[in-house]
Each structure stands twice: as structure tokens, then as C-alpha cells.
């Protein structure tokens, strides 16, 4: 699992916060990483994984969180130092010939952009719901998960 985002930008820290929650759950065979954003070297990590979960903050959604499969897409160009999950997966496929099963978890936030620490009440509540959902999903699917979390 990769949880990504900047905890100094309010609810942008939802991805890292989710990763920290998962880390406390002590999941077996689950590697958890936290970063400011997805970058090219994450392609190396996901290439080693059987399943990848990208956890990010969600802006503008109408549900507490969204969970969906994601696939490699080289049309998701690398336009900055920060990559989309599709681009990380495309790099893993292109460079290392690996195409792990992958999912994106977007957790709805409310307060973004401003320099601020801590999650909003809405984000906290959505984080709780997302954590419950993922733990149930993991239990039901018995997945060995590499979890990555970030928020941008």
C-alpha cells in the first residue's frame, strides 16, 4: 500500500493518515509506504507486489470514499515530479514487465490547499469508514497487499 499526500496541507494528508492506520493494524505480508506524492521510483515497489493499493485524498466526490481497480495507462503522462497511479503502473510494466493487480482508494476531504496541520472532522469520519471498508475487504479477499498512500 502506498499512502500519499502532504500532511501540512490539511485534508491532503488523508493518504498518509490512512497508511498510518493500516500500519497499526499489523497486517501480514503487507508493505506500507508513505510519501508526499507518487514518483518514478514507486514503479520499483509496485513491480515487486502482487497487489497494490494507492490511497489518496479525494476532492469533489459525493461519497465518503471511492474504491476502484486501476490499470496501467501510459497516456497518463509524467507532467511533473508527481505521478498518477496509472503512470506508476505503466512504468512498472514498461521497465520491469510487471503488472500487479491494483486499486485506488480515494478518501473524500473537505479542506485542501492551505498550510494547515490535522484533518477536518469530515475527513476524519471518512477515514474511519474507509479503514473499516478496506479491512473488511482484505479479510474477505485474503489479499497479500502492498499498500501505498499519498494525497495531492
Amino acid at each position: 500500500m502506498i499512502g500519499y499526500g502532504n500532511a501540512g496541507r490539511g485534508d491532503d494528508g488523508l493518504g498518509p493518515a490512512f497508511a498510518e492506520r493500516l500500519a497499526r493494524a499489523n497486517l501480514k505480508d503487507c508493505f506500507i509506504d508513505i510519501d508526499y506524492q507518487l514518483t518514478v521510483e514507486h514503479a520499483l515497489q509496485v513491480a515487486d507486489a502482487q497487489t497494490v493499493l494507492f490511497a489518496d485524498a479525494l476532492i469533489g466526490g459525493d461519497t465518503p470514499f471511492r474504491f476502484a481497480p486501476v490499470q496501467a495507462d501510459s497516456a497518463a503522462d509524467i507532467a511533473s515530479h508527481s505521478l498518477l497511479p496509472e503512470a506508476v503502473l505503466a512504468l512498472a510494466e514498461l521497465l520491469y514487465g510487471k503488472a500487479p493487480e491494483a486499486f485506488v482508494l480515494g478518501i473524500q476531504g473537505e479542506s485542501f490547499g492551505e498550510v494547515a496541520e490535522g484533518l477536518s472532522d469530515v475527513a476524519q469520519a471518512n477515514l474511519d469508514l474507509a479503514e473499516k471498508f478496506i479491512l473488511e475487504w482484505l479479510a474477505s479477499s485474503k489479499k497479500n497487499v502492498l499498500l501505498a498512500s499519498s494525497a495531492c
Partner: protein, 480 residues
């Protein structure tokens, strides 16, 4: 006769943060004005007020997810001053240097291979669907794997010295909080030969591009300016972590030299303009009109007398020979300079890894408390200034940051204007490829607009074409 037009590139891609370019064409399709605007502002200096001095080097990393280590180290140096420490124990300084070389290396590698390479390999005007990193990798997958391995090496150095991958705590006021274990050192040494080899290959690529495209390099956003950086005290060598401030004019003559960076406000002032949130620094004695200057890799090659590592110094001599020792004014030569610095960083990393001081246990110095501290480093993108004042409760009461991209503000605006005039003037139709020329010029400075505005963001590209009355007549957009 055509109507006057306004073209916007908003935001600019493959740079960090939010910005846009506006280009005004007159009735004869000649470029009348071209500007790089910063369209967002976050008040980080206000946020930092009230925080305790010891936590500042950690908190400032939240300023930017792209170059947090630069802010970590500049803030730590400023807090050294507040703690009355002017000289760190050797282990502390060398651990910080190792961290810094690791971050400069990984930042430059990412910029060259992933952000600049598509333009350099396929041409500035190549179709947008061709001009991306995936097409580069398809043509040379081994190059792609090396680039990621080099980037990861730098990231691992950061993690080993800062303590954590993000929000590192390695540098503390007055020193460092850990040394480097032997096992960690040996793991890095096992990879260092590959890194030296691969970075020299990267240098050869950048040099080759510059020389093979000498006509383009000589005319593309190439203009005289002043240059400023730190250089090592005493001998004027390139020094990315510490030194005295030096500024040269376009002819290479000294404007100021051997200046203690704690006196930066004696020589630099910041101008503001109504159309941008980013300030315009200039050299006080020359004034805002002609006192602007450029910083960053090429500026450092211009200001440094030499480089104290053999491979990088040979490359510097080679670079300087192109201009017969005069300052190199070409925006595109920044790529060559950036790769010289990558080689230098790996040479310095090797030198440090072999130094037993990294296993020393004297990690922190103390001194007599002061109310004010100023820390300056040469970040990947150029000179970075952190300036703080604290009260008797150790709380920050004042913060001023001048980041590399802000130093380069006027230079980037001149580059935009130069390229717009040369590549857009007189054209009836403006294509995406033409507009990419403007972005290439900005991108060569590797600007971090997130830092410059103290904001974090992404940059999808939006180009809008307006008629003389301000009505939108055409637009293009692509995701960032």
C-alpha cells in the same frame, strides 16, 4: 490586418506548482509582451510564526513535497545561528552534506530524464503524444531503469541521513541526530561504482545534446544577466552546502564576493509587481531594472572558480571552454550544468562514505543564544535563503524565505519573452508545439512554483487564445 491577441499557457506543465504564461500579440502578430505569472499564493511565512525553533527544520519540509530536504537543511542552518553555533562538529556537517548531495543528485536526475528528456530527444515541436517519458523508455528501456535506480539511490541517502523518507528529523539546531552505521555505508559503497558510471553517461548525453545543437542552444532563451550563488570560502570552489555569496555580471566581473550570507539584505532587495504573486529580487546597488540575476546549476558553473572533485571539474573546464571562460548565458546549457552537478554529487558522496567522521559520535554543538538566524544553501534549483527571528520563548516571530525559483523570476520571464518573440512572432496560427517552446524555456530552470508561492499543486496545461476584446476564441487543455 489581424486583431491583437492574448495567448495563455495555463498552467505550465512539467514544472511544479501553479503558473501560467500570457503572450500578447499585436495586430501584426508580433509578440508585444510575454509573462510568467504565478497564480496562487499560500502564506507559509505566516504559518511558521509561533512555532518553536527546534521544530522549524521539520515543519518547513511541508512547504513543498518536491524539495523538502532543501528547506530542512536551510532552516537547520538558520537555527544553528539562533543557537549560537557557527561551526558544526565534523560528523554533523558531513552527515548534512551527505543528505544534501543525495537530494541534489536525485532531483537533477529526475528533472533530466523524466521532465526534460522528452523535449531534448524528440524535439520541442514534436507531437505531444510523442513528447513524453514513456516514448523515451520505449526507445531505451535500460536508460529508464538506470534513471530510476539513480533516483532511488539519492532517496536512500536521504532516508539514511534524515532518518525518514518524509518529514526527516536528521538535521537539528546545532547538529545532526545520528551518524551513519557501517552497514549502511557499505550498502551505499556497493552501488557507488554503478552510480559514477551512469552519471557520467548522463553527463555525456547532456554535453552531447548541447554541442550537437549548438546553434539552437546559442539562440534559444540566451541572454546576458548577472549570476549569483554561494562559493566555498577562500578558494571560490563550487560548494552546494555552505560558503560565501558571490555575484558576477554578464561579463564575469565581480559585483560582490566573499559576502557573509547573514548580510544578504545588504545586497538583495525584493520587488513586487501587480501581475504576479512571486517577488522579483534584484541586487540593491544596481537596481531593479538591471540588477536581476539568475541562480541554479548554470549560474553556479559561472560563479565557481573550479570544482573540487576531478570528474566534475574536468566537465566544468569543458563547459567553460565553449564560452572561452566567459559566463555561459544559454538557458538550455542548464541541462549540461545540471549533469555536471550530478557527477559532482556522486563523487562527493563517495568521498564522504569513505570518511570515518561519518561514524563519529560528537553530533551537536552549543553556543550562546541569539534572536536571529539566517541559513543559506545551494538547493538543486539554486540559492535558497531562510531567515528567522525568535522570541525569548523560542517561538518564531519573523520568517522570510527567498527560494531559488523566486531568484530566477526575472530570468524566467526574460526567457519566456525571448522564446515567444523568436518562435511565435509573425505566425498566423499558434500550434501546441510552438507553445511548448515557451514551456521548454521555463522547464530548463526546473522551477518549483510550489515553493515560490509556498503552495503545493499540479500543473495541467491550459492554453487560451483571446481576441482584442478579450473574448475567448480558442483553447486547449491537457491533464497535469
Amino acid at each position: 490586418m489581424a486583431e491583437p491577441r492574448l495567448i495563455e499557457i495555463s498552467p505550465v506543465t512539467r514544472v511544479e506548482g501553479h503558473g501560467k504564461v500570457t503572450i500578447h500579440l499585436d495586430a501584426n502578430n508580433q509578440v508585444d509582451e510575454a509573462r510568467l505569472h504565478i497564480v496562487e499564493f499560500r502564506g507559509f511565512e505566516r504559518f511558521i510564526r509561533g512555532r518553536l525553533l527546534w521544530e522549524v527544520p521539520v515543519i518547513v519540509q511541508r512547504l513543498c513535497g518536491i524539495c523538502p530536504v532543501s528547506h530542512h537543511l536551510a532552516a537547520a542552518k538558520a537555527m544553528d545561528g539562533i543557537c549560537g553555533v557557527d561551526e558544526l562538529p565534523p560528523t554533523a556537517e558531513k552527515m548534512r552534506r551527505l543528505m544534501h548531495y543525495g537530494q541534489v543528485m536525485q532531483s537533477h536526475v529526475l528533472h533530466f530524464f523524466h521532465l526534460a528528456a522528452p523535449d531534448l530527444l524528440f524535439g520541442f515541436g514534436a507531437p505531444a503524444e510523442k513528447r513524453n517519458i514513456f516514448e523515451v523508455i520505449k526507445e531505451n528501456p535500460e536508460l529508464g531503469r538506470r534513471a530510476i535506480a539513480m533516483r532511488q539511490f539519492g532517496q536512500e541517502i536521504i532516508e539514511a541521513t534524515a532518518g525518514k523518507k518524509i518529514h526527516g528529523t536528521g538535521a537539528i539546531p546545532g547538529g545532526i541526530n545520528k551518524n551513519l552505521p557501517i552497514a549502511t555505508r557499505d550498502a551505499f559503497l556497493a552501488k557507488i561504482d554503478d552510480m559514477l558510471l551512469w552519471t557520467q553517461d548522463a553527463l555525456a548525453m547532456a554535453r552531447g545534446y548541447t554541442l550537437e545543437h549548438s546553434k539552437l542552444v546559442a539562440e534559444f532563451a540566451s541572454f546576458p544577466s548577472n549570476y549569483m550563488s554561494l562559493v566555498r570560502e577562500g578558494d571560490g570552489a563550487l560548494d552546494l552546502y555552505h560558503g560565501k555569496m558571490r555575484a558576477l555580471d554578464a561579463a564575469g566581473d565581480t559585483i560582490f564576493d566573499n559576502l557573509d550570507y547573514r548580510n544578504y539584505q545588504d545586497v538583495l532587495l525584493e520587488d513586487v509587481r501587480s501581475w504576479s504573486y512571486m517577488k522579483f529580487p534584484f541586487i540593491r546597488e544596481i537596481g531593479p531594472e538591471n540588477g536581476w540575476y539568475r541562480v541554479g546549476p548554470l549560474a553556479r558553473m559561472n560563479t565557481a572558480n573550479f570544482i573540487d572533485t576531478p570528474l566534475a571539474n574536468a566537465a566544468l573546464t569543458d563547459l567553460k571552454s565553449v564560452t572561452n571562460g566567459a559566463p555561459n548565458r544559454s538557458t538550455l546549457a542548464n541541462h549540461w550544468a545540471r549533469m555536471i552537478e550530478v557527477v559532482h554529487c556522486v563523487e562527493k558522496i563517495q568521498e564522504l562514505l569513505l570518511d570515518p567522521d561519518l561514524q563519529g559520535t560528537d553530533l551537536k554543538a552549543t553556543g550562546e543564544r541569539r534572536e536571529e538566524g539566517i541559513g543559506v544553501i545551494e538547493a538543486p534549483r539554486g540559492n535558497l535563503i531562510h531567515h528567522y527571528k525568535v522570541d525569548e520563548n523560542d517561538q518564531v516571530t519573523y520568517c522570510n524565505l527567498i527560494v531559488s525559483t523566486t531568484h530566477n523570476n526575472e530570468g524566467m520571464n526574460r526567457a519566456v519573452k525571448d522564446v515567444a518573440v523568436k518562435h511565435l512572432s509573425g505566425k498566423e496560427q499558434i500550434t501546441e508545439g510552438m507553445l511548448n517552446h515557451v514551456e521548454v524555456a521555463i522547464r530548463a530552470y526546473d522551477p518549483c512554483l510550489s515553493c515560490a508561492t509556498h503552495a503545493l499543486g499540479q500543473m495541467p496545461l491550459e492554453v487560451e487564445l483571446f481576441d482584442a476584446e478579450g473574448a475567448l476564441i480558442d483553447s486547449r487543455q491537457r491533464a497535469g
